[in-house]
């Protein structure tokens, strides 16, 4: 019961923080170049990691699917199946996990360090609003760049999948690619993108929140990094289910209507 109350408490704090950030965005937006600087930093830092993760995730999915579809004798569909499964579901989730470690943990460590070394208090003392000056550029920068990173990772996963399809399953490239459009329709692509978008939002909110409310010296920074990555992963899994569920509801609704 107690942990339930704690959870609700934390959820409320995060939502209040999010509304504060959005209010600041509405009333006192930060400078555009600060946001662009963040986008550049985050993208450059994390692209190799996400690209690599994406490539291997695509590869793994192809290897697994190759064994399954060969039992059905449907290896022609391998490309379509593996690509669609990667883009709709596994890809965004695993790449977002990777980003929660890379971007999320990094940002909360950076903000936490600023907090425990009194840099955030110093900003307030020098007459600036830390949310406008520090949080908002990072928040927006992370949303934009993780969206790019996730889609980039997905593309790499398609490349990884097709490479493995050719090397491992011995399917020629044309055949691999041919069935992708039949299975991977526009709704699937959209579902993948919506997932990326929502994960980016989750990531940005949680890591800025955790970093901004760090207390307790070097140990505290470590603590908030750990809770950032755990909380982000849990929320991403829940959102994964949520978006899939919503997608099915919408599909059903359109099918009926």
């Amino acid at each position: 019961m107690k942990s339930g109350a704690l959870f609700l408490n934390r959820l409320g704090e995060i939502l209040l923080f999010l509304s504060e950030v959005l209010k600041t965005l509405w009333k006192r937006p930060c400078k555009l170049e600060l946001v662009l600087e963040q986008v550049w930093h985050v993208t450059i830092q994390s692209f190799p990691t996400t690209a690599m993760a994406g490539f291997f995730v695509g590869g793994i999915m192809t290897v697994q699917f190759a064994m399954l579809v060969s039992e059905f004798g449907a290896s022609a569909y391998l490309g379509g199946l593996a690509t669609s499964a990667t883009i709709r579901e596994i890809g965004p989730m695993l790449i977002a996990f990777m980003l929660s470690g890379k971007v999320g943990a990094f940002t909360s460590a950076e903000l936490g360090t600023m907090k425990v070394t009194e840099q955030i208090d110093a900003i307030r003392c020098l007459g600036a609003d830390p949310i406008q000056e520090i949080i908002l550029p990072r928040f927006l920068g992370i949303i934009i760049s993780s969206f790019f990173l996730l889609t980039g990772g997905l593309m790499l996963s398609v490349i990884g999948g097709s490479t493995l399809g050719i090397l491992f399953a011995g399917i020629n490239p044309q055949e691999y690619v041919r069935h992708i459009p039949t299975i991977l329709g526009f709704p699937s692509l959209l579902s993948g993108l919506v997932k990326c978008m929502s994960y980016a939002l989750v990531l940005a909110t949680i890591c800025t929140f955790m970093g901004y409310f760090t207390t307790g010296g070097a140990k505290g920074v470590g603590r908030s990094v750990v809770s950032t990555s755990v909380l982000t992963m849990v929320t991403i899994v829940v959102f994964d289910w949520g978006t899939s569920f919503l997608g099915q509801l919408l599909m059903a609704w359109f099918a009926v209507g």
Binding site: D121, C125, G127
Partner: protein, 244 residues
């Protein structure tokens, strides 16, 4: 200048400040002494609104700032500069940008005037040739002096120091102390210094206030304190005498 009326602040079940009544006059150098964890820093942070008191009032320049919002506090903070215990320099900015940060926020100044004021502030703390460096590239003592310059450059009427000499070598400690003294003599700045260094306090303070367990146990000029009978003050004094 600054007045605290029955200030109370607690964290959870621990009461840190138990009713502080204190009046600081303009142009004074007041040292607040006490052992670690008696709420000295909390008192300073309450003054500029980084924390809110539970009850009591804070008056700055005949203005009750106790219930000010973050926006209302901005002009107050322009008036009261605070130097933090840690240097608290912004890692991502150069020394020059660190010092210019407040100037750009509060005033609209041409770039050459900003440069002039930054250099002036740096020369006040005896630093040169560090403008383009990053905070990580200079020593801790230099960082602390830069953080002092960052506050002084705004020419505040009140300066709040949170342990300005902790972790500094004796030579730098002396120069920081004489800087505090010079600022209040030349620019008529009011200074509030939180410290546990009785030695410095005896040398430069106009008034010394001793805090213990969240309450003021004794206060007075250095001469008056030397005659004090309060045990904690005597402990502080005997330690300072050993140094002399």
């Amino acid at each position: 200048m600054i007045q605290y009326k029955k200030l109370i602040k607690s964290f959870g079940t621990r009461t840190i400040l138990k009713g502080i009544d204190l009046h600081i006059k303009a142009g004074e150098i007041v040292f607040i002494l006490g052992t670690s964890g008696t709420g000295k820093s909390v008192l300073l942070k309450n003054t500029v609104g980084l924390m809110k008191p539970d009850s009591g009032e804070i008056w700055i320049d005949d203005e009750n700032v106790t219930d000010f919002t973050e926006q209302q506090f901005l002009p107050v903070r322009k008036k009261c500069g605070m130097v933090f215990q840690h240097p608290a320099l912004f890692d991502s900015l150069s020394i020059y940008e660190n010092i210019a940060f407040g100037l750009r926020k509060h005033f609209v100044l041409p770039e050459n005037e900003i440069k002039e004021r930054v250099e002036q502030a740096l020369s006040l703390v005896n630093l040169e040739n560090v403008l383009t460096k990053r905070p990580g590239e200079i020593s801790y003592g230099m960082q602390k002096r830069v953080s002092l310059a960052r506050t002084v450059v705004l020419r505040p009427k009140v300066l709040l120091f949170d342990e300005p000499t902790t972790g500094l070598d004796p030579v730098t400690t002396n120069s920081v102390n004489s800087l505090i003294q010079n600022l209040s003599r030349k620019l008529n700045t009011t200074s509030m210094v939180v410290s546990h260094d009785m030695h410095c306090a005896l040398k430069i303070a106009d008034r010394i206030v001793v805090l213990d367990q969240g309450q003021i146990v004794d206060q007075g000029t250095p001469q008056e304190l030397l005659q004090s009978q309060v045990p904690l003050v005597r402990d502080f004094l005997s330690e300072a005498r050993d140094l002399l």
